[in-house]
Each structure stands twice: as structure tokens, then as C-alpha cells.
Amino acid sequence: MTEFSLERGLNALREEMDAPVASFFSSCVHCGLCATACPFYVETGDPKYTPIHKLEPMRLLWEQEYTLWGKLKSKLGLGKQVTDEMLEEWEPLLYDSCSMCGRCSMVCPVGNDIHYMIRKAREGMVASGHAPEGLIAASVRAVNTGSPMGLQWKTLDVQIKHVETATDLEVPIDKQGADYLVLLSSMEIINFPEYLEAITKIFDHAGVSWTLSQQCFEATNAGIQIGSKDIAATLVQRVVDAAESLGVKNVISPECGHAYTAIRWEGPNAIKRAYPFKVFHIIEVLDQLRAAGRIKTEGKEMDRLSMHDPCNLARKSGVIQQQRSLMDLVADNFVDLEEHGKFQWCCGAGGGVSSNERAEELKMAAFKRKKAQIEQVEPERMVTMCATCRTQLEEGLEEFNMDIPVVGLTEMIADHLVERDKPDDAAAKAGG
């Protein structure tokens, strides 16, 4: 990130104009239905949070420069210009009040993929110097230290040692030619160390060949959240380099929805080439292992469980059935929230909202939609598969004095694994 200026911002926006964007702006009839899809509008009732309104600067630029009629109008000096002040005014709309959940895109009657455009509009915001401080700081840390939270390998290493002691298993590091390179998210390493322990157990149980990489362990991509293709490319390249140098065939994104969309869908476009490996979310991998009969479980959770689908995983990536098949394996009393899967409601923290301190209040407001959904179903615990969602659910439920613990699905699977005979135990038995 070098010089920011309005002109750079406008240029970044110009680069983002494509046929879908033009068809979307040409089609909006200002019906306002997208507002009813957005947790930030629904829970605040403030019309300025209407999804399509968040794109007004980009729409203006499109009209003025990409339509004959608009060009004519601006030649005649008619119509508003996109100014620095305007972008400044829109900064909170594009960042604080949008978790890029994509729900608006499912609802618009003319078919506008609004969140597709919000992602693009953020490129213009970054280049013009109108991105929130919290996200800028996270991006700088990610570029400089490899982690948006400034977490270093030595912190992870301590955790690895703990896991190894607790499980009596080895956590493979830098293992050449492993089948899977496992990535983590800093948020997870800090808040949910259980995750690493869980996959260590599951992969040992299922006989999966995997590894961590010292060169790159972070799966999230602050460049994509803030809206900077350059930063995004730098961060994705690190994952690609690590995967290529270890010669792995697959990369696993952790229990983080954002990391998954970042590596799975945006990454190859950020570096402008297809990957020489496949990318999976941990839940996809677990479900493949389940389907192949490689995960043997015993016993079931007997309390009433419900599930929060991370937007990035379900609506934005099509991983919807997998988590339910896995739940079936270990839960006896599972009930879905009314609107779930591709129509689920965002927890309120995605899209960089949780790294943006200024958005704290809106983040909690948006959570109220999730809360209402949970109240309707009255589960004893919630299950999810994203560290950001999980943190938000925990904080939100606590804020509203709801005593509903939140669990990660991977851990829950790990808790039910059938004890497998250790190879040396088996050998001992055979010998004895």
C-alpha cells in the first residue's frame, strides 16, 4: 500500500467493473427487498443499511463512465460526482455494516449479486485510503508477520507440544509429500486450541498423512477482507509456496469460513493462476473420511443441538450437507434452525466486521437476528465450524445472558472416535 488518493480509488473501482456489475446496476428497481435480507438493516431498522445503498459510489461511477446516457449527463454537468467526502461517508456502510454474508444476493428479485459488488467496492475504498483502521492494522500485521494477529510460529509450537503431550501423538511438521497440508487461523490458535488436538486425533485415527508447514500456517487472508488484491496475492502466494515446496496434493482450510473462501475461490484469481493442489475445508475432508468409512465413532451427544452454518462455508461455498452428515454421526437430538444452509443468517462478525473495533455495536446488533433464530429452536448447545462465528456466538449469547455453550464440530467428532489399537499395541498382542 503506497499512496492513497481518490484517483487511485476510482481506478481500482474501474478495474472492478464487469458485465455482471453492469447488469446488476442496470436492473435495480429500488424495491428495497435486499434490506429485508440483511441482518444489519433488519436489526437496526435504519434504511441506510439497505444493501444496494452501500454501493451508491460504485453505481454513480458506473453510470457516469459506463453508460452513454450517464456520459452525456456528466458532460452537461448534471449528476453527482464521486468525491473523497462521499467515499469517507460510505466507509462505515461498506465495512462496519456489511459482513459480506451474501444473503442479499439470494433475495434480490432482479437477481443482483450485491455482495459480489461489495467485495469489489472495497478495492476502491482501500486504494482511496478509506478502509477502517482495525483492518489496515490486521493487513499490515499479516504481511509483516504472516498472521493478522501477529502470532508467531513459536506460539504455535508451544501449542503443538501441548497437543503432543496430551494425545501421545506426533504433530507432523514440514513432512515432504504428505497428502494434506493443514492450515490454521490465528483466531483459532488463540481461542480454540482444541481444534489442533482434534484433527491430530482424527487424522491419526483415520490414517491420514498430513503436515503443518513452518513456512506458512495462516489460512486467513486480510487482503481479501479489506479489499486489496495486492495484499491478497502476497498472502495467497505464501500458502502456494509452502504447499509447492512440500509437494502436497491437498490443502486444508481450518474451521474458518473466511479462510476457506479466501483460499478456495479468491486465491487463484489473486495470483492469476490455477493451483497445483486441491483446497478443502476441514469439514469437507471429515465428511469424505466419514463416507469412506474411515471415521469410526461410538456414542452420541444426547442433548438438543442446533447448528450455525458459516456464510462463507454454506451460502458462499456450497458446503451444506457435509456438516449435517457429520452431525448425524455423533448427535442424537439435532435440530436445524429454521432458515439454514444457503438461507442461514450471518452471526454478524464476518467480512472483517470483527477486526474493526468501530463496528462493535453494529456487530452485536446484527447478532440479534441469530439470537432470535436460536431462541426459536431452543437448543441446549450450538455447533459451528468457524472460529470467528464461534467467538461471535459465544460473546453474543453471553451478552444476552443465554446459557448456550458453543462447540466446534471437529472437536465433537474427535470426542467420539473409537479408540484405535496403536500399531505397537497390536504388534504386542500379536506377539503375545
Partner: protein, 219 residues
């Protein structure tokens, strides 16, 4: 100018001009959209684009249950007046005859009293949408003069058609001339306003369905 002269003017040169502006304008709009293209997508696809795109084109006629519950008025009234408008436009026998004389294609129409009833319902529904736009906080907030302009140019052909059919404006050639003029204004305004959604919404829906479809989600 007699009312007959007026009618001939609207049926003749004005009609030609309106059709020309509409056709050329719409062509430019579509070229402007498609010329922008789409960047190559390097991410491995999970699903197809063509079929999911087409499904979304269809599915957005029929909103998801949650949206229906949260905005029943928009959904019901919106569907009613859009269908009413299309029925009056395409299934009224004199309109079919006009289309036949222009393009040589034809299809069966509905009996006049049926179209009349549909038109009356459409007028009420359109009025209801205007009131809604003026009062609903989100719609009021989003609305620009253009939204009221397109409401007006959509309402007028329906209204003048209804008045002409019931001989509520006299003499008849004047009534018919006004109806044709209203239709011409609609056609002329269309390419320069969001009335383009009549065509571009299909494009937008397809792209939406294709973008989601590629990731394995039917939007």
C-alpha cells in the same frame, strides 16, 4: 389539429420514432453491459454455470419463504401488477393484431372483459405500489425522481388504455391517440432508465445463478 390528426400522428411518425429509440437505445445498453466481459476465473469450479444460471432466472419469480414472510406486500402486489401489465400488453386482442401487422406473428388473446378486469386490478396494484414507495421507510429512502418517473410512465399506458376502452375520454380518436402516446413515452424512456430491468434482470439473474452455481450453490 383534430383528434383524428393526433391519432394519425401517434400511430404513424411518432410510433416509428419511439420504436427506433427503444430498439437502438436498448441495443446500446446491452452492448455496454456485455462489452465489459468477465475476467477469467482460475478457481476450480464445484458446479456448472449455465443450468444454475437459468434456474435462478426462473427462481427469482418465486421468492424464498423467508422473504415472502418478511415482505408479503411487495411480493404479492409486485407479482400481480407485473402479470397484469404483461397480460394487458400481450393478450388484449387489438394489441395482438398490432403485433401481427408489425411482425407477422400471432397468438390467441383473452376476451375483452377479462383483460378489462385485469387492467383494473393492475391499476389498483400500481397505485398501491406508489403509496408503498411514498411511505415505506426503505423504499422512501432509496427512491429518486427516476423511480417516480418510471412509475408514471408505466402507469399512464395502463390508465389511458382503460379510459379509452371505457370511452371515458372523448372523442375516441383522442382517447386512443393518448393511449398510444403514453405507450410511446414508455418506450422512449425505457432504455435510459431502470425500466431496462425488463431485459437486463434476466441477464442479472443469470449471472447471479452462474456465480453461485460455479461454487455449487443454487441461488
Amino acid at each position: 389539429m383534430t383528434s383524428m390528426d393526433f391519432l394519425l400522428l401517434t400511430k404513424g411518425p411518432l410510433f416509428q420514432i419511439a420504436i427506433a429509440i427503444f430498439a437502438l437505445g436498448m441495443l446500446v445498453r446491452l452492448v455496454e453491459i456485455f462489452a465489459l466481459g468477465r475476467p477469467h476465473n482460475y478457481a476450480a469450479a464445484r458446479g456448472g454455470q449455465l443450468i444454475p444460471g437459468l434456474k435462478t432466472v426462473y427462481k427469482r419469480f418465486n421468492p424464498d419463504p423467508g422473504t415472502f414472510k418478511r415482505a408479503p406486500f411487495d411480493v404479492i402486489v409486485g407479482i400481480i401488477w407485473h402479470i397484469g401489465f404483461v397480460v394487458a400488453l400481450l393478450l388484449f386482442i387489438p394489441h395482438i393484431e398490432l403485433i401481427k401487422s408489425m411482425f407477422g406473428v400471432t397468438w390467441p388473446g383473452l376476451p375483452n372483459p377479462v383483460v378489462d378486469a385485469v387492467t383494473a386490478i393492475t391499476l389498483f396494484a400500481l397505485l398501491a405500489t406508489l403509496i408503498h414507495r411514498l411511505t415505506h421507510p426503505v423504499k422512501k429512502f432509496l427512491s429518486t425522481p427516476e423511480d417516480y418517473l418510471i412509475w408514471t410512465v408505466t402507469f399512464l399506458p395502463v390508465l389511458t388504455g382503460y379510459l379509452a376502452y371505457h370511452r371515458l375520454i372523448n372523442p375516441y380518436p383522442l382517447a386512443l391517440g393518448l393511449h398510444i402516446l403514453a405507450a410511446e413515452i414508455f418506450l422512449i424512456v425505457l432504455p435510459f432508465t431502470k425500466l431496462t430491468h425488463i431485459f437486463t434482470a434476466f441477464v442479472a439473474r443469470w449471472y447471479n445463478g452462474a456465480i453461485f452455481g460455479r461454487k455449487g450453490v443454487q441461488s
